[in-house]
């Protein structure tokens, strides 16, 4: 398992991660959700031992990643965001190298390499140089290199970034298989759908800080089954805020001269009342977007921003 307590990482003036704490269990997938630059990769860097935390503690299977780095790393597999592959070598040579780097040798290494090639669907192309592979094939091999040594803890840093839908589905299946096999999986992404379909527990982070954590149900509960109504146009923020708050069970997530975001139950039925209230303030509405409760809407509710902004 992975235990992160009050993790903080600073780069000169910049605080990349601030007071992040969570525990990821064996046999489950823990998601780290946040926009680009939120601090997900820095958190992964601290867990893998590549970065030294400024403060706090990180333990992998009980081993402190700073003071017992070697023991912690032995059980760790990492699938980085970039395609960390030797393009001039074959798929088999890549897998063999990463297996050997974790101490595997001889027939057990060869057998495991065959197994992983089968798993990632590259058995037929095993001897070809990786540079001839498509993006999806490289992504799958990148994943294979992270699991070849059968790690008990697997860190996945946006492993599906830029892949075709078919390869994405295959990769997500592979991630589920790892957790089903007993591995503790930490999965970072900014794709809400992936996090919703994959993760048992989640932490939402933004600007280096943890803003929500729990199971998918717990997080949805934070929205109170409310829809999210996003209105784009021209508003006088204070007047608009006052007008909609007079309506029953409406919450203002954010209000600025161009955008108004509201959280409300049964939004489709309440739309005429909302338009009427805003009309009384002289507002002009150009665009309306209604979202059902999801991690996306939760993120907007918590930060006032969309996840991909």
């Amino acid at each position: 398992m992975i235990e992160v307590r009050e993790l903080r990482k600073e780069y000169d003036e910049l605080v990349a991660v601030d007071d992040v704490s969570f525990t990821a269990e064996a046999g489950a997938i823990f998601g780290l959700l946040g926009p680009n630059g939120a601090g997900k990769s820095t958190t992964i860097g601290c867990i893998s031992g590549l970065l030294t935390p400024t403060a706090g503690e990180v333990r992998v299977l009980g081993h402190d990643v700073v003071t017992e780095a070697r023991s912690a790393r032995k059980q760790l597999g990492i699938v980085p965001q970039e395609l960390a592959l030797y393009e001039e070598l074959s798929a088999r040579a890549n897998l063999s190298f990463w297996g050997a780097a974790y101490g595997m040798r001889g027939p057990s290494l060869k057998g495991r390499v065959d197994e992983v090639l089968e798993l990632v669907g590259l058995r037929d192309r095993a001897r070809e140089p990786v540079k001839r592979f498509s993006g999806g094939m490289k992504r799958r091999l990148n994943f294979g290199c992270g699991i070849v040594h059968r790690p008990q803890v697997l860190l996945l840093d946006e492993p599906t970034a830029g892949v075709d839908p078919q390869s994405r589905v295959r990769l997500l299946d592979l991630v589920r298989e790892q957790a089903a096999g007993g591995a503790c999986v930490l999965y970072t992404t900014h794709y809400m759908e992936e996090a919703e379909s994959l993760c048992d527990r989640l932490a939402v982070i933004d600007h280096g800080r943890e803003i929500a954590m729990g199971t998918l149900e717990e997080l949805r509960g934070m929205l109170g089954e409310r829809d999210l109504l996003r209105l784009v146009g021209r508003f006088r923020p204070e007047d608009a805020r006052a007008a909609v708050l007079r309506l029953d069970d409406v919450e203002v997530v954010s209000a600025d001269p161009e955008t108004l975001i509201l959280a409300l139950r049964d939004a489709s039925r309440k739309l005429p009342a909302v338009f009427s209230a805003l009309g009384g303030t002289g507002a002009e509405i150009h665009q309306t977007t209604l979202s059902e409760p999801s991690l996306e809407t939760l993120f907007i509710k918590l930060t006032g921003r969309e996840l991909r902004e």
Partner: protein, 418 residues
């Protein structure tokens, strides 16, 4: 150690997957060396000869003796002497028509016999570098020979230089007999020193009457080949050192650094792979030395070990430079800015023997310069253990220090900074 070997195998396979780079590292210096060799006369089947104009203003027995020595079989292979009038000689050397103009001043014989200072003037062609240096060396040997001749046979030379008594065309038989007797007695006195000779010039490939040709071929090869071989090793070092940036940019470095193996092991693997490529490069270079320049095969193993060691050390230095650059492009600029001056002063473009003294003095203290000097000694078969050990320490200790700094840098800021 296993981790080092694993990394080395991987890196070596990556080098082999790009044979074009390997060919360039090897081919470029060999092409340059080949051109120098052909320009030196190898293509026409002969050695380069210096064309020396001689203005003999003394026209005496001793000046004739000096010039005669220059026309003997050994010297004639590298010197082509042409007597000229002084003004004609000055004009032609000014026009760049010869390698050098030697002026034997009036009173040269007198000065030698009376053991007073005499000065030979040598004007060299500034457009040439190697041949004037050969002429200068050759002339110094002739002058030294003349000095010792005077010390041993001074009386007899004075008699001969004075010529036959007035009114006679030839020396009287009694004088000739007396001279013969005197020379014979002097030789008998020196016999214990001269026979067997205290100084012995030997050539390991002297069988079959090839000694003279082989010796000069070895000399020519030794002049250029070690520097050219280290030019190839510098290219290898620069080319392979770039790999830390390749690995950083494609993410494999970070992935490797979170594996249980130490950062030093990762670098160690790169060095081992570099050592294998350096050894391969050296084998090719030394094979050229043996086949074209008659370098004796028994010296090859020691030379191979030396080249591999020094080549690997060069890789360490370049790797350190790469690790302190802030971008990959900056690293390329930095190492290129290092590699060409190192080649220039370290004896790769021009041998130390033809460099200005100050430049040769600086060049001999560069890592590749130190290595070239010892490689020459190894190929000549006269390397001294003390000098070799000193040079090995001079290269090895800074390399070990550089490796230590590189390991720390690799696992620290270098891997993390984007």
């Amino acid at each position: 150690m296993r981790f080092v070997l694993t990394c080395a195998t991987k890196d070596f396979r990556r080098v082999l997957s790009d044979p074009l780079a390997l060919l360039l590292w090897l081919g470029l210096p060999l092409a340059i060396g080949g051109m120098i060799w052909l320009a030196g006369g190898a293509g026409s089947g002969g050695q380069p000869r210096a064309h020396v104009l001689v203005a003999d203003l003394d026209s005496t027995f001793l000046s004739g003796l000096l010039l005669g020595a220059g026309e003997q079989e050994g010297a004639a292979e590298i010197l082509e002497l042409e007597p000229v009038a002084l003004e004609d000689g000055r004009g032609r050397i000014g026009a760049g028509e010869a390698t050098a103009l030697l002026i034997i001043p009036e009173g040269f014989q007198q000065a030698v016999l009376e053991e007073t200072p005499a000065e030979l003037l040598l004007l060299t062609n500034p457009a040439q570098t190697v041949l004037p240096a050969i002429v200068e060396e050759g002339l110094e040997i002739l002058v030294e020979g003349t000095f010792y001749l005077q010390r041993v046979f001074g009386d007899e030379l004075q008699l001969l230089a004075a010529g036959p008594p007035t009114g006679q065309n030839l020396f009287a038989d009694t004088i000739v007999a007396s001279l013969s007797l005197s020379v014979n007695q002097r030789l008998q006195q020196l016999e214990s020193t001269l026979l067997p000779p205290v100084l012995d010039v030997s050539s390991p490939v002297s069988e079959g009457g090839e000694a003279e040709g082989s010796a000069s071929a070895v000399d020519f090869g030794l002049l250029f080949l070690p520097g050219i071989l280290f030019m190839a090793l510098l290219f290898v070092a620069q080319g392979m050192s770039d790999d830390v940036w390749e690995e950083k940019m494609n993410g494999t470095l970070r992935r490797a650094l979170v594996s249980p193996g130490p950062a030093g092991g990762l670098l160690g693997g790169k060095l081992l792979a570099g050592a294998a490529v350096a050894a391969f490069t050296s084998v090719v270079g030394l094979a050229v030395a043996v086949s074209l320049f008659d370098v004796p095969p028994p010296v090859v193993p020691a030379a191979l070990v030396w080249c591999t060691f020094a080549g690997t050390a060069l890789l360490v230095f370049f790797q350190l430079a790469q690790l302190f650059a802030t971008t990959q492009r900056g690293a390329t600029v930095l190492t290129t800015a290092l590699v060409f001056p190192l080649m220039m002063v370290g004896g790769s473009f021009f041998p130390f023997e033809v460099m200005p003294d100050w430049m040769a003095a600086v060049g001999r203290w560069t890592p590749n310069g130190l290595a070239v000097v010892q490689l020459k000694a190894l190929l000549r078969g006269d390397a001294e253990t003390v000098h070799l050990a000193r040079a090995a320490l001079g290269i090895g200790v800074p390399a070990a220090l550089a490796l230590l700094i590189s390991s720390r840098r690799l696992a620290g800021r270098f891997a993390v900074n984007s």
